[in-house]
């Protein structure tokens, strides 16, 4: 099950090989497709991980987009559908390598804003009309995870996030998005990727959860640099003052800045008003799908905290802390600590942050808040412990993935799990 895999991911595991010599010559798209068809998945992943120059990956992505259709058709006609999914899997591997390149290196380029092969091959697969099966399901979830992690790369590096803070979620939900991603959106039709996927797999829980997570991101999250995801009474006052007063017509740069600040305040307040409706939608999802209850409750808890209703967060979070999934359990404990903090219940907050750090030792998000809580107490031994907690978080190498860093990216954390399922399905 998913949670069993996420244990390995939290522990820093990856299905990509590491510490391989860098590639300096372009990889051949057709050779990669052939390798993958033979089941030599590890070699393909290793080759892609070894590419240092993102321009080579961009080139490979373009080549794959151009050559996949011919490669699929070149095989035995009885194998056409399977070869389409092989091409799809390679497109996912390349997209993942591009995400990895963009997030771990300083290599954002305009070309790589829009993966070429993945939407094109997805279209080819969609054209292979046949009843939905496990192979397609595995491909669908792996593609979802790919787009969700692509969102992380775009958010980190896109320069105009102010206009469209959640460009890839917008693609998935059929909302307006970045111009660079419009080609991708076209590949999925007006309703977006998730609508198409749900038409193929109605009631699929991961897809339904993703739809709500996407709405949560688009409707309640604010752009990065001017982000007030977390409201406080002081922040709300500040925003309300800004929103109430129209931008002064001073002209020039000052007016431009004031106009943007005014717009930011209005946008943040509108997002604030959408928090509790979003929590209600997650509650409905949890009621209809018991398998999603723990994850939905984590979202409900966080939305309640953001809506300045921490007392409403405690019960759903208490339900979520018993989850078998350590990612979910960590977030439930972490948010519980934050809810108690907001309620002024310092000892309870400290206890919750400690429990979170048992689930994911040295995770910076809980470590920092635990240290801060310990430091402001009246016990000098707690001050000593606060420093030790921070030292441990600093020294933890390799650092386990911090679930809080992955909160906004849905099943992106499960990309290795879904890819492994897809590889196994292709082997059969």
């Amino acid at each position: 099950m998913v949670w069993q895999w996420s244990v390995a991911i939290l522990a820093g595991g990856s299905i990509l090989a590491s510490a391989v010599p860098p590639h300096v010559v372009p990889l051949d798209a057709v050779l990669l497709l052939d390798q993958y068809e033979r089941g030599d998945y590890a070699a393909v992943a290793r080759d892609l991980a070894s590419v240092d120059d993102l321009r080579l990956l961009d080139h490979l992505d373009s080549e794959l987009a151009k050559r996949s259709k011919g490669w699929i058709a070149a095989g035995n006609p009885s194998q056409t559908r399977r070869r389409a999914f092989v091409a799809g899997a390679v497109a996912l591997e390349v997209t993942h390598a591009l995400v990895d390149g963009q997030t771990s290196r300083d290599g954002w380029t305009h070309d790589s804003a829009n993966p070429e092969a993945l939407p094109r091959v997805a279209r080819l697969i969609a054209n292979e009309v046949s009843p939905p099966d496990d192979l397609e399901h595995d491909w669908t979830l792996a593609q979802l995870a790919s787009w969700e992690e692509w969102n992380a790369a775009v958010r980190l590096t896109a320069g105009d996030q102010w206009i469209t803070p959640e460009p890839v979620w917008a693609v998935l939900l059929g909302e307006p998005t970045l111009m660079q991603l419009s080609r991708t959106q076209t590949a999925f039709g007006q309703g977006g990727y998730l609508q198409e996927a749900l038409a193929r797999f109605p009631g699929d829980e991961r897809l339904l959860l993703a739809r709500e997570e996407g709405r949560e991101s688009i409707e309640t999250r604010c752009p990065i640099e001017f982000c007030f995801d977390e409201m406080t009474p002081a922040t709300l006052d500040q925003l309300r003052r800004r929103a109430k007063s129209a931008p002064p017509e001073t002209g020039g740069l000052a007016q431009m800045m004031n106009t943007r600040i005014h717009a930011m305040a209005v946008a943040n307040l509108e997002a604030f008003d959408r928090l509790l409706p979003a929590a209600s939608r997650f509650a409905a999802l949890a009621n209809a799908h018991p398998g999603l209850r723990a994850e939905a409750n984590v979202h409900i808890g966080y939305l309640a905290i953001r809506a300045e209703r921490p007392e409403m967060a405690l019960r759903p979070l208490a339900d979520a802390v018993v989850s078998d999934d350590p990612h979910v359990r960590y977030l439930a404990e972490y948010f519980t600590g934050r809810a108690f903090d907001a309620l002024g219940r310092r000892p309870d907050a400290i206890a919750a942050f400690r429990r979170a750090l048992v689930v994911v030792p040295d995770a910076p998000s809980a470590a920092m808040l635990l240290a801060a809580q310990l430091f402001v107490g009246d016990d000098s031994t707690e001050r000593t412990e606060a420093y030790a907690v921070l030292q441990a978080a600093q020294a933890a190498v390799p650092r386990a993935a911090d679930p809080w860093d992955r909160y906004w990216y849905g099943d992106a954390r499960l990309w290795p799990v879904y890819m492994e399922h897809l590889r196994q399905a292709l082997r059969q």
Binding site: R105, E149, T157, E225, M368, A372, D378, S380, T384, R399
Partner: protein
């Protein structure tokens, strides 16, 4: 709130106690006599008021008047924690620095070190997606060559510059009773905060035995563009948090690209502080102590003081 650079006065504080060691048990017990050290800045207008004597100061500890043991000053050795935003240097977020960012870090650290006295100590913490102590706190006479931008620049998912983690690590570091601790941070302070809000940082800063000066790179550009992004710093949560944290320690945040020049000014200011020492009397030693410092002979003077200290 509009950004203004105003002279902010300094106040740092250290505490000490007489320790009795029972060797057979390996435990340390502290006596009831607690020595408190307080960094105080007195300004008349924008000019530091110099020449004050111990009897010019009035100090209360949890509301109880205290008698000063001594007035110390520039001779007291410093511990300087240099907290440097490696993201700024390595990921091209400050294009004006060019590819020589890592070299720039070392140059800055060396310039800082050149301004310190032989008894002073320097530690370096760098941060990006991780926090690294790239130089342990040690005397400035030791080589600086080991300073590096060793941080991971792997940005996965929602990693944000670990600015709060780095500052908390510096501010919470234990300080010897006979030294003053200055935390000096250089950062572009761009991107999101690595904590839900600035409150934990500000609250911890208010109780730290250190004084924080933050040098923030001017917001010339929006992230990754050349579009002016001159938002008032307080409109951006990360800048707002750093500014308030600095003020909570008695330090200040300065918006400038002149790192070494700013440090020279900071150090000059810092060495002009008065350092008050008193032995706590009339109040329980343990727990949090509110302290208030005044200069009755100068009612118009501005005195900046931290709010208190943690009793041992």
């Amino acid at each position: 709130m509009r950004w203004t650079v105003t002279p902010v006065l300094l106040f740092a504080l250290g505490t000490g106690a007489i320790a009795v060691v029972f060797a057979d048990q390996g435990q340390v017990f502290r006596s009831g006599v607690q020595s408190v050290l307080a960094d105080v800045s007195v300004m008349r207008g924008r000019t530091p008021l110099t020449g004050l004597a111990a009897e010019d100061f009035s100090v209360t500890d949890n509301g109880v008047a205290q008698r000063l043991d001594s007035l110390e000053g520039a001779a007291m050795p410093l511990d300087v924690s240099l907290v440097v935003d490696a993201t700024w240097l390595t990921l091209g977020l400050a294009p004006e620095l060019g590819p020589a960012g890592a070299r720039s870090l070392l140059d800055n650290a060396q310039q800082v070190a050149s301004l310190l006295n032989p008894d002073d100590r320097l530690g370096v913490i760098t941060f990006s997606a991780t926090v690294e102590e790239t130089r342990a706190m040690s005397r400035v006479g030791s080589p600086l060559g080991e300073i590096s931008v060793a941080n991971s620049t792997t940005w996965s998912y929602d990693d944000r510059p670990r600015i709060t983690q780095a500052l908390l690590t510096a501010l919470m570091a234990p300080v010897a009773t006979d030294r003053r601790h200055l935390v000096l941070m250089f950062s572009a302070a761009r991107g999101g905060l690595d904590v839900p809000s600035g409150a934990p940082l500000v609250e911890a800063a208010a109780r730290a035995d250190a004084l924080l000066y933050a040098v923030l790179n001017p917001p010339h550009y929006a992230l990754g563009t050349h579009v002016p992004s001159a938002f008032y710093p307080s409109e951006i949560p990360i800048r707002d948090a750093v500014m308030r944290a600095a003020e909570a320690t008695g330090g200040k945040a300065v918006l400038t690209g002149d790192v070494s020049g700013t440090f020279r000014d900071v150090l000059k200011d810092f060495r002009q502080r008065y350092v008050l020492r008193y032995s706590v009397q009339g109040v329980p030693t343990r727990g949090w102590h509110d302290i208030v410092v005044t200069v009755p002979s100068c009612p118009g003077c501005t005195i900046h003081a931290r709010r208190g200290y943690m009793g041992q």
